[in-house]
């Protein structure tokens, strides 16, 4: 399956500002207003994204706790949890670390990435939330990379229940100064008119915006890809992912999101979210 895709991420409208922020990493004098504390560390290169993965619009949702970890110990621990871990960590062959780890370590000199994979496919958000707390307590990660939503949508979990459990977990993580990256639902043309699937997707969008959490917009990426291919008269893939190339594109986007988040300027706090 070919995956010439543009993966979007939250707050893509601000990508020009981000460009400035990234430029500042390389040459702070050009754009002095941008760049966080971690930028002072060095001049990291943004992780490259393979041509076949298409253009990505970028997020500047910061990962402040990880930026501090980067400054203090040059090490970042990522806890991957939720559905198929391969889909976000990238393919790993012959004992090599997952692609996400390789890409980040290549891009940020001296950075040691440790990925703790606790993916349990089929798990619903409520059960994952319980496990996240345990794994965080045991492993002390800086970032939780959480694939969430698809299983809840398939299992017909009521939207309010889903929203409450995800929000509760995010607030717990925030209270404990753990950064979070949500990897949203998969895109499938067949599910475009599935009311419950779309309701869970909208709910996740809402949560990530209100909680100011970085969300990898997998669905939107697939949608853009589908439209692009349709317009070019090429067959539309059924899903973004589900192939080694697709998984690796996703890992590259996650890597870029992390790199950008590490050096992004902190944003103003969002208005308090309603209690779950």
């Amino acid at each position: 399956m070919a995956h010439g895709v543009g993966v979007g991420m939250e707050r893509s409208a601000n990508s020009w500002r981000l460009g400035c922020a990234l430029a500042a990493l390389l040459a702070p004098a050009i754009c002095p207003a941008a760049g966080g504390g971690a930028a002072a560390q060095g001049t990291p290169e943004l992780p490259a994204i393979a041509k076949e993965c298409g253009e990505a619009s970028l997020s500047e949702t910061p990962l402040p706790n990880s930026a501090t970890a980067l400054q203090e110990r040059k090490q970042i621990k990522i806890l991957a949890i939720g559905a198929s871990s391969t889909a976000v960590l990238g393919w790993s062959r012959e004992g090599k670390p997952p692609l996400l780890e390789q890409v980040l370590e290549r891009s940020i000199k001296g950075l040691d990435i440790e990925i703790i994979n606790r993916g349990f496919s089929g798990e619903l958000s409520q059960a994952a939330g319980t496990r996240i707390k345990i794994e965080v307590a045991l492993n002390h990660p800086d970032i939780v990379l959480w694939q969430v939503g698809t299983n809840d949508a398939f299992a017909q979990v009521p939207v309010e229940e889903f929203e409450a459990s995800v929000r509760e977990t995010l607030q717990w993580l925030k209270a404990h100064k753990i950064d979070v990256i949500l990897v949203g639902l998969h895109y499938m043309k067949q599910l475009a008119k599935n009311d419950h699937y779309q309701a869970i997707r909208a709910s996740l969008q809402r949560i990530s915006a209100q909680e100011n959490v970085l969300r990898i917009r997998r669905y939107e990426a697939g949608e853009i890809l589908g439209r692009t291919l349709r317009e070019a008269g090429r067959p539309e893939p059924a899903d973004f992912g589900l192939s080694e190339a697709g998984y690796n594109c996703m890992a590259q986007y996650v890597a870029r999101a992390i790199a950008v988040g590490l050096y992004a300027k902190p944003v103003k706090a969002s208005p308090p979210s309603p209690k779950p």
Binding site: T86, S92, N117, I134, Q156, E244
Partner: protein, 362 residues
């Protein structure tokens, strides 16, 4: 002839039904299983009773068994369970592939940890055979295989150094919790969902408590006292679970696994609550069995044929997940899934006994 209904078979059947329902995430009837009021769930019950059954098998005085024969017999049982695991995984992968194809929904190829198999079948097939790659909800039997592989060692320690069995098991349990260590997965890096180094403790306790002497005898003698202590624990646990009043894991002292509520590591909180639950409910069977003979017979026949029923139940749970996906789970659909599922579990048990009866008749 199949044996008459008894408490062990009854509770084993109960565990099988609970596992069948709990393995269909989101199903309405999930809220009726005992995990909603209990820290431990049907997995603990299933493994404990597996150990209990092993104790009955090893402790049977009908025929004196030599150490060599014991090892061969238990090894053969481990092989049977292993073969069952390979078979049901194979069927599960076929169900996922067929459903993905028929529904034109490739997402299903990622369900239940199947993505690795469909994307890298060469390595993942090796992992499946080595039990280092486990499909989601198909992860209890690998634990059972490991426990049955350890069963000859358990039986031999029991035969030649009985007082050491439980202390050794608990030493391994606490070592795994404090170090901590567990079994890794491969080719996808991770951990077994059921840590065999900790879950062996409940299996060994089931084994030891089933015996008429040693720990089993002591517990039986003090059962009233134990139940008196256990009942408040069970009630307190029910309140904690209902209101989700568990301490924040981050604020717990080290080693945290000694204080957490974690299923993968069967933490002490779960183990103790399960033992309390078992002590309280071990009295229940005799009280209600005469009043609900149909239920007693139904669950007992499932429990008598637990491996076959477990295997069919695992596959049916996956089919239930697919049905809920296709027909967008509702109360009516969920009810049909449960009724048909129960019927098929009963049919599996009935056919298993019919086959045994035919064999005995020959």
């Amino acid at each position: 002839m199949p044996r008459h209904a008894n408490a062990v078979d009854f509770w084993r059947g109960f565990a099988l039904v609970s596992i069948f329902i709990n393995h269909i995430p989101g199903i309405w009837y999930e809220r009726l299983t005992h995990r909603n009021l209990s820290i431990s769930d049907s997995a603990e019950l299933f493994v404990f009773l597996a150990g209990w059954s092993l104790g009955l098998l090893v402790g049977s005085r009908k025929e004196p068994v030599t150490a060599g024969r014991l090892v061969v017999r238990l090894g053969g049982r481990a092989l049977t369970i292993y073969a069952a695991q390979i078979l049901i995984c194979s069927i599960a992968l076929a169900i996922l592939a067929a459903t993905a194809y028929v529904l034109d929904n490739p997402l299903l190829l990622e369900w239940n940890n199947a993505a690795a198999f469909f994307q890298d079948p060469a390595l993942t097939q090796i992992g499946l055979v080595l039990l280092t790659h486990q499909l989601g909800y198909f992860d209890i039997l690998p634990l059972y295989v490991v426990l049955m592989l350890a069963a000859p060692a358990i039986a031999l320690i029991d035969k030649f150094a009985r007082p050491l069995l439980v202390p050794l098991s608990l030493a391994l349990y606490f070592a795994s919790l404090t170090a901590p260590f567990t079994a890794p997965t491969w080719p996808v890096s991770g951990q077994w969902f059921f840590n065999p180094f900790t879950w062996q403790a409940i299996f060994v306790l089931g084994f030891a408590l089933s015996r008429d002497d040693g720990l089993g005898a002591i517990v039986r003698r003090k059962m009233n006292l134990i139940r008196g202590i256990a009942l408040p624990l069970v009630l307190i646990a029910a309140v904690l679970v209902w209101f989700n009043w568990f301490p924040d894991p981050i604020r717990l002292p080290e080693p945290k696994l000694l204080f957490l509520n974690g299923k993968s590591f069967l933490t002490p909180m779960r183990l103790l609550q399960f033992l309390a639950l078992a002590a309280v409910f071990s009295a229940a069977y005799a009280l209600f069995a005469p009043w609900v003979p149909w239920l007693t017979e139904f669950l007992s026949i499932l429990g008598r044929n637990s491996l076959n029923v477990f295997c069919v139940g695992s596959v049916l749970s996956l089919v239930g997940q697919v049905i809920r996906l296709v027909y967008t789970g509702s109360f009516v659909i969920d009810t049909m899934v449960v009724i048909v599922g129960m019927g098929l579990l009963w049919l599996t048990a009935w056919v298993s006994e019919w086959k045994d009866r035919q064999t005995a008749g020959d």
